[in-house]
Amino acid sequence: MAQTTTSPSQIGPVSTDSSRRARLAEFWYYFSENRGAVIGLFFFLFLIIVAVFAPLLAPHAPTMQYRDAVLVPPFWEEGGRATYLLGTDAVGRDILSRLIYGTRYSLFIGVIVTTISLVGGILIGVIAGYFRGWVDTVIMRVMDIILAFPSLLLALVLVAVLGPGLTNAMIAIALVFQPHFVRLTRAAVISEKTRDYVVAAKVAGAGPLRLMFKTILPNCMAPLIVQATLSFSNAILDAAALGFLGQGAQPPTPEWGTMLAEAREFILRAWWVVTFPGLAILITVLAINLMGDGLRDALDPKLKRS
């Protein structure tokens, strides 16, 4: 961990830039060694573009019902039409357009859930790891309590209590993901706290807030970033699962899990209504997990040398 022993607060602005660039180059070197990770990254960028330009890319409006085109199969199947490339659902909505708009929801869910649980987890974890004592004990017990429940079950019950819907689903998922970030941050802070550079900063007169967030935290980020990518993909999966159970995004929202829930009764009649939304979830989650594996290899110094 050679590069982590110098804290950014101790380096001048000029050298920060060059060291950051060097670090970025080093990071890219290890990240790009993993072919899967690069593919995942490019697919993820592609999804972002699709989400941003959804209104331009989608051939139809996502909730527009074409009454003359109910359960039309994809264009290559018999009876398929070129205007509905991936077919239509039971009320005549274009599946491709719904999938394109669905990208927005999935990425949005991932970003919001990961941000809430990451920021919350870091705050609570740094406090627990820095102060130790009873504060630490209380925080960790609360986290143990949350971890005692299967996460999807807890999220399901939370949403049932808060009321079904996408916002409440995201809150519930962020809450059940919280303990992982708290534990990771706490463990990293505890191991960093006694190092010489922290002691030096303390002797130089840095206050607790500066010590916690400027001196120690930047050196604890690697495992947190890896966990964040994992949470991003898990958030998409769990939100889709809640949508599938009817407790997440509500129809006619083109959220992928909700689309699957609506399609369930047609599984033996119209395979395309079920297949494509699930495939979209799988590929998205897979791309993020591929990226996560690459990030882990590039950021984990222990694995780097093996």
């Binding site: 429940f149 299967p150 999807l152 399901l156 209590v161 889709a240 033996l268 979830i281 799988l282 897979l286």
Partner: protein
């Protein structure tokens, strides 16, 4: 070892109390009047309201109510279901064998395929096999299992017509429940075809529920094996001239299994969460479907009690895994 056990219990008991507070509080956090919700009646007179409120104990302070609830739990009283009017604990024990049977089959499926796959990927590191196995494992790990279940139904029940769509056994068969495990009960009943029917109902749910654990176990086995294979004692074993099979199968695998066993133990919680989706898709009458149905029916005593029982069970399983781990690995035992 005894001190180790005491240490774990010292953490576990406050956690369980916390879990019970959460389960207890859920119903109080709900929008709406708990008395109306609990009674399940839409219109009632003020006298009737007061009577139900008194009967349910809602006219007392929260702390008294909680202590009363806790006292009930200690005596095994987890409340009564609104919709079926039967005890929550009784329902749980009635449905739990179905989930247990499914989970056991899924874990066996995951272990039997996952460990050899992980070992193979590790010894052939970087090869075509390694890449294929790890690629497949990552796909399995990323799988939305509710969709996976639907796909398998389309293929095996729809197109090929090999397996039934839902339930535990064909309605043609009826026999008393002895163990609660359909595979064993159908054999005991001696009815022709009953076992085959039970088995064919079990195959798809087992695959669906076992997919994520399978992927996790394969990945974990591979990385544990890779770590162990670079150890000195493995090199010594090789230098002694032991066969490759002996080195990998006996010297390396035994040590690589320690983290894998922990992973398997921790998968039990994942299983119960996965059972929520798997059981819903296949209409499997277990506790996962029970919980989902209760959420739909707003059967709050069941949600409350079920949450507490499931969390308690997972905590117990984790404790057992911890103790086994401590037993296997003295370093863990003496850490604290």
């Amino acid at each position: 070892m005894f001190r180790f056990l005491l240490g774990r219990l010292a953490v576990l008991i406050p956690t369980f109390i916390g879990v019970s507070i959460i389960a207890f509080s859920f119903i109080r956090l709900l929008p709406g009047d708990p008395v109306m919700l609990m009674s399940g009646e839409r219109v009632m007179t003020p006298e009737r309201y007061a009577e139900i409120s008194h009967r349910l104990g809602y006219d007392r302070s929260y702390i008294v109510q909680y202590l009363d609830y806790l006292w009930g739990i200690l005596r095994g009283d987890f409340g009564t279901s609104i919709s079926t009017k039967s005890s929550v604990l009784g329902q749980f024990f009635q449905l739990f064998p179905a989930t247990l049977e499914l989970s056991l089959c899924a874990i066996i499926f995951a272990v039997v395929l996952g460990i050899p796959a992980g070992v193979l990927a590790a010894i052939k590191r970087g090869s075509f096999w390694d890449q294929t196995i790890m690629g497949t494992a990552l796909i399995g790990f990323s799988m939305p299992i509710f969709w996976w279940g639907l796909l398998l139904i389309i293929l095996f029940s729809g197109v090929l017509q090999w397996t039934p769509v839902s339930g535990r056994i064909s309605l043609m068969y009826f026999f008393p429940s002895v163990t609660g495990f359909m595979l064993i009960d159908s054999l005991l009943s001696g009815q022709k075809g009953a076992f085959t029917s039970a088995l064919s109902h079990l195959i798809l749910p087992t695959i669906v529920l076992g997919t994520i654990p399978l992927a996790v176990i394969a990945r974990q086995t591979r990385s544990a094996m890779l770590e162990v294979l670079s150890e000195d004692y493995v090199r010594t074993a090789r230098a002694k001239g032991l066969s490759s099979f002996r080195v990998v199968g006996i010297h390396a695998l035994r040590n690589a299994m320690i983290p894998v066993v922990t992973t398997i133990g921790l998968q039990i919680g994942v299983m119960l969460a996965g059972a929520i989706l798997t059981e819903t898709i296949f209409s499997w009458p277990g506790i996962g479907k029970w919980m989902v149905d209760s959420v739909f029916r707003r059967d709050y005593p069941v949600i409350q009690g079920g949450l507490l029982i499931i969390a308690g069970m997972i905590m117990l399983v984790n404790l057992i895994v911890d103790l086994l781990y401590g037993l296997l690995n003295p370093r863990i035992r003496h850490q604290n």
